[in-house]
């Protein structure tokens, strides 16, 4: 078996805001930007990890959702309980300082967690939770 993780998906509510966060604040490269019917799919990822991408997708485009389900997804995103991603960085404190200075929504400053990692947490503009932990 030689399966790798190719792409993982996070929902967005505003493609331009998502670009501002993932490209400008996190420093990810934009690998694809696909528009269809006024909706956009953005493929982004860290330059040092060309084989792994995150696709930022419009959740309302998912076929087979009822209006009620679509509404629930939007509510869960807004209240911050829908999706998350775990990242790692060589220097969590420096990374956090840069993000905070850039005005991103801070959830938790760099902290030594009782479960053994040093990490911080921020939200992307859609409300997804991004934890960034110290690489070891």
């Amino acid at each position: 078996m030689d399966i790798t993780i190719h792409s993982s998906f996070l929902p967005h509510t505003d493609a331009d805001a998502a670009l501002g966060f993932y490209r400008d604040a996190l420093g990810f490269e934009v690998r694809n930007d696909v528009g269809y019917n006024g909706m956009r799919w953005l493929t982004v990822g860290p330059a040092g990890q060309p084989a792994v991408s995150v696709v930022l997708y419009p959740p309302e485009a998912e076929p087979g959702l009822t209006d009620e389900e679509r509404r629930t997804v939007a509510e869960m995103m807004a209240k911050g309980t829908y999706a998350r991603l775990l990242l790692a960085a060589e220097d969590v404190d420096a990374t956090f300082a840069r993000l905070a200075a850039g005005g991103v929504e801070v959830v938790e400053e760099p902290t030594d967690q009782p479960y053994g990692v040093r990490d911080c947490a921020v939200r992307d503009p859609a409300g997804n939770l991004l934890r960034i932990q110290q690489r070891r």
Binding site: R71, E75, A78, K79, V106, V107
Partner: protein, 147 residues
């Protein structure tokens, strides 16, 4: 209340509630109260409490206290701090309120927990220890549902 929209909280308010909840996660160890949280998002304390409960199923005060108790459990497990020290360190100003809430959530008073839990997670991987030692809010809900 009882509106046709099923009392749904507007998305813009949900974003504010998320900021309140994140602030609790971030600042629970400071002398936070619901009034301060409400001021931060320009709501009255009563309105914030109602909306927060509708969105997250519990009041902001309850969420705040649960965070404090969760942290207190971790500190007590280390065994090098007194219950009083831990109470103040997690942002509680009243030892009585802290002990009552701790006992409700965890099932035993903090002093007993401190004695019994010190050795309970020895040898357990950190990620497992975090999972299994988290206070379970449903434990309360169940008790309330069937007294």
């Amino acid at each position: 209340m009882g509106s046709r929209s099923g009392d749904r909280v507007p998305l813009a308010d949900l974003v504010l509630l998320r900021q309140v909840r994140d602030r609790i996660d971030r600042e629970y160890a400071q002398p936070l109260d619901v009034e301060a949280l409400a001021r931060g998002v320009h709501m009255s304390a009563g309105h914030l409490s109602r909306l927060f409960r509708r969105a997250y199923g519990e009041s902001p005060y309850s969420y705040l206290m649960t965070r404090r108790i969760e942290r207190a459990m971790a500190l007590l497990r280390r065994g090098d701090r007194s219950v009083t020290d831990v109470c103040f360190e997690v942002g509680c100003s009243s030892l009585g309120t802290f002990s009552t809430r701790f006992t409700e959530l965890v099932g035993v008073p903090p002093s007993v927990y401190r004695k019994e839990a010190a050795a309970a997670t020895v040898g357990m991987p950190a990620c497992v220890a975090k999972q299994v030692t988290r206070p379970v809010r449903n434990r309360e809900a169940r008790r309330a549902a069937c007294p």
